[in-house]
């Protein structure tokens, strides 16, 4: 199976180890992984700040880059949601582009979604002794419709205690540019979210999105809270390695 990687701008710049983990895990299941070098960002920042034409240009570039791929996999539920949900909408007045956008959208997957739903993996063979709470990224659960998949993977990690997320519906307040346009509200939201997670006594907040992790991680550090953040792919891969593969 051939898989093209889309490494989101946040993972590329700040969390490259997340991309590496994805590569290793996909290869473990026999995927032939390629990384088209001309990719940049999915254009979500442009879309969400109201720059419609710019957002469309990003979508066009993504479509051109990946339309010959068999599958596209990315370590972000938010970006995958953007591609799947909004790309077709952007071209609804252009029949030919709409068709191409739908075709690419249909084969675009968030990493855990691909692992569970396409590769049929439940247990990656990892061991990770920690108390973990899973943070549901808003766009992943609401636009992409991915909810159970990451939980399934985590439930099969040995020695990992998966705690209930008491408010899986509550945003962490990142919201892309929102975090700098409305920093006070954004921080208040992070505090509320983190307060609930600290209350669960979790060691680690795990998520499928660099944005949420950067936001909650940055705030938790600043406040000296006893909880850290980690991407699901990194956790799984480290767990596999420590389990002696």
């Amino acid at each position: 199976m051939k898989v093209s990687l889309f490494i989101t701008c946040l993972a590329d710049h700040f969390y490259p180890e997340v991309g590496e983990a994805v590569v290793h895990l996909l290869r473990r299941y026999g995927c032939e992984v390629d990384f088209p070098p001309n990719q940049t960002c999915c254009g979500q920042p442009a879309w969400n700040t109201g720059l419609e034409d710019e957002a469309r240009a990003y979508a066009r570039a993504y479509i051109e880059t990946f339309e010959n791929s068999e599958y596209v996999v990315m370590p972000s539920g938010s970006c995958a949601g953007h591609v799947r949900y909004y790309y077709p909408q952007m071209f609804k007045d252009d029949k030919e582009m709409y068709r191409r956008a739908c075709a690419v959208a249909d084969k675009t997957y968030e990493f855990s979604q691909f692992l569970v739903n396409v590769l049929g993996v439940r247990d990656v063979g990892a061991r990770f002794p920690a108390k973990v709470v899973f943070h549901n990224n808003c766009h992943m659960q609401r636009e992409l419709g991915v909810f159970e998949e990451p939980l399934t993977l985590l439930r099969h990690v040995r020695d990992l205690e998966l705690l209930d997320n008491p408010r899986y519906d509550l945003c962490c307040g990142f919201g892309g540019a929102f975090s700098v346009k409305m920093p006070e509200i954004s921080t208040a939201m992070a505090d509320e979210r983190l307060g609930i997670y600290v209350g669960t006594k979790a060691d680690i907040i795990v998520s499928c999105d660099g944005g949420c992790l950067m936001h909650m991680g940055g705030r938790a550090e600043r406040q000296g809270l006893p909880v850290r953040t980690m991407h699901l792919a990194t956790l799984l891969w480290e767990g596999v390695k420590s389990n002696g593969r």
Binding site: H13, V23, T49, G50, R142, G173, S179, V180, A188
Partner: protein, 489 residues
């Protein structure tokens, strides 16, 4: 009420004030959580019953039906408005058309003058808040008293509602007891019986002495001309039946074609609003008192309110007119729960307010509201009508940019950034440049990891409250060649 954004301090000031008020935030979160929990339970219950074929449909099915009904009604709104008007007249009522807020006030003033009215009692109505009804009539020397407990509280506090359904959501029991105590001239305890007893006794006198009763309408059934009121206190019933004149202010989007349609939307409203299957009172008012009837008003007036609503018809925002004002989107909104209703500066707060306040008034004057969202989509998920609130917020941001009203500095930076990053070579180069530019601000910690704790310029908005990670020493792009080789081995 602040329909005019220039009457209120700017958004940043309002936010800072709200965020600094722990008591307000605590009260809002507490009640919002309560409502949300109850709503979720009653929705789960409905779904269960539907699965056993004991209900007319699951929540999702009711939502689909309700959307179909509203889509149809909005598409043929002129027809249904005419039908409703004709029925109301046949039933003995009088119909008025108000294009603007000022029209409502003028019509109400005319009625008050003709009846030489001194006192008006009002049941809870967002439409009347929208047109600043109390303010206008009081200026004419007419006393206006709110009969809904929550509305009465905020009237005593000289405030506007902080929530569509729970106007006094931001008040604590202690604050309410103090306000009532000031009116009563004695100390009141904070328990519910004491507070409701006081309100009931005070308001009863007002009901009996009122010349006009003013209500809104949760729905208006076109085929029968019936005004429908959903309340929990019975105050709606007293307001519309005790005084000799009843005036209903009805937004034109409140129409449903038939009584069967009513059953569908009514299945959604209390469940979404307060987590109740039905409310304690549900009044259907079809005409004034008829000969031989023991009660009811002598005169019934329906004022149909447009106030910007027709502009939405046929536009990409038409869907917003499906709103049944249940407040579910407020209760789940992570922004609303942290800043409360007044910070929005508009009579409709929360996600729906951020959508319709700019649309019903003037987007140019309300550009901040669509920005005040992380676009998490919880509102859309909760909305019984399935209104795509967060998508409309994005759309309004686009309109703001197109109008040239978006924050110029921010927009320029975003445009430059987005234009540059689209080119793969520049995108890759930017990582290298960024690494160098960040270097002076990156600190090495004892454990060897690195962090940026204060960044200059626009990035300070992040680092004032949150740490920022440094750009990796090798980006994924830079690591790929190694990974690729590894794969070939």
């Amino acid at each position: 009420m602040a329909a005019d954004p220039h009457n209120v301090p700017d958004f940043k000031t309002r936010i800072a004030k709200a965020l600094g008020d722990e008591r307000l935030r605590g009260a809002v979160r507490y009640t919002a959580d309560n409502l949300r929990t109850k709503r979720n339970a009653v929705v789960a219950d409905l779904n269960e019953q539907a699965a056993q074929r004991m209900a007319i449909g699951s929540f999702a099915e009711l939502r689909r039906q309700a959307r179909r009904i509203k889509e149809h009604t909005l598409k043929h709104l002129d027809y249904y408005l005419e039908q409703a008007a004709e029925r109301i007249r046949q039933n003995g009522g009088t119909v008025h058309w108000a294009g603007s807020a000022a029209d409502v006030v003028r019509i109400a003033e005319e009625i008050a003058e003709r009846r030489q009215a001194k006192r008006v009692i009002k049941s809870k109505s967002m439409a009347s808040e929208e047109v600043m009804f109390n303010h206008a009539l009081e200026a004419k020397g007419v006393e206006v008293v709110e009969s809904d407990l929550g509305e009465y509280i905020i009237q005593l506090a000289h405030e506007t509602p902080a929530h569509i359904v729970i106007p006094a959501i931001h008040k604590t029991r202690r604050q309410i007891a103090d306000m009532f105590g000031a009116v009563a001239g004695r100390e009141l305890t904070t328990d519910t019986p004491t507070l409701t007893k006081f309100a009931r006794e005070t308001l009863r006198k007002k009901f009996m002495a009122a010349d006009i009763g003013v209500s809104g309408a949760n729905f208006l059934v076109a085929e029968s001309g019936t005004i429908c009121l959903v309340t929990n206190e019975g105050n709606g019933r007293l307001t519309t039946s005790v005084p000799p004149v009843h005036v209903a202010i009805v937004g034109i989007e409140k129409l449903v074609p038939t009584l069967e349609d009513l059953a569908v939307v009514l299945g959604l409203l209390p469940r979404s609003a307060t987590g109740q299957k039905i409310t304690t009172y549900f009044n259907m008012i079809t005409g004034p008192r008829r000969p031989g009837e023991p009660d009811g008003p002598e005169e019934l007036h329906v004022i149909f309110l447009d106030n910007g609503r027709t502009n939405l018809l046929g536009s990409k925002y038409e869907e917003a007119l499906m709103c049944i004002r249940c407040g579910a989107c407020l209760n789940v909104c992570p922004v609303y729960r942290n800043i409360g209703g007044h910070a929005y500066g508009s009579i409709y707060p929360g996600p729906i307010g951020s959508v319709i306040s700019p649309l019903l008034n003037d987007l140019g004057a309300w550009t901040d509201l669509p920005q005040a969202s992380s676009l998490c989509g919880a509102c859309h998920e909760a909305c019984p009508m399935g209104i795509h609130l967060h998508e409309h917020l994005v759309s309004l941001r686009m309109d703001t940019v197109a109008m040239g009203k978006a924050d110029p500095g921010f927009t320029r930076v975003m445009k430059l950034w987005m234009a540059a990053w689209r080119r793969p070579a520049i995108y890759r180069m930017a990582a290298k440049l960024g690494r160098v530019a960040m270097r002076p601000f990156v600190k090495k910690r004892a454990d060897g990891t690195e962090v940026a704790e204060s960044l200059p310029g626009p990035f300070a908005a992040w680092t004032n409250t949150r740490n920022f990670p440094p750009i990796a020493s090798r980006t994924f792009h830079e690591r790929w060649s190694d990974l690729e080789k590894e794969g070939k081995r």
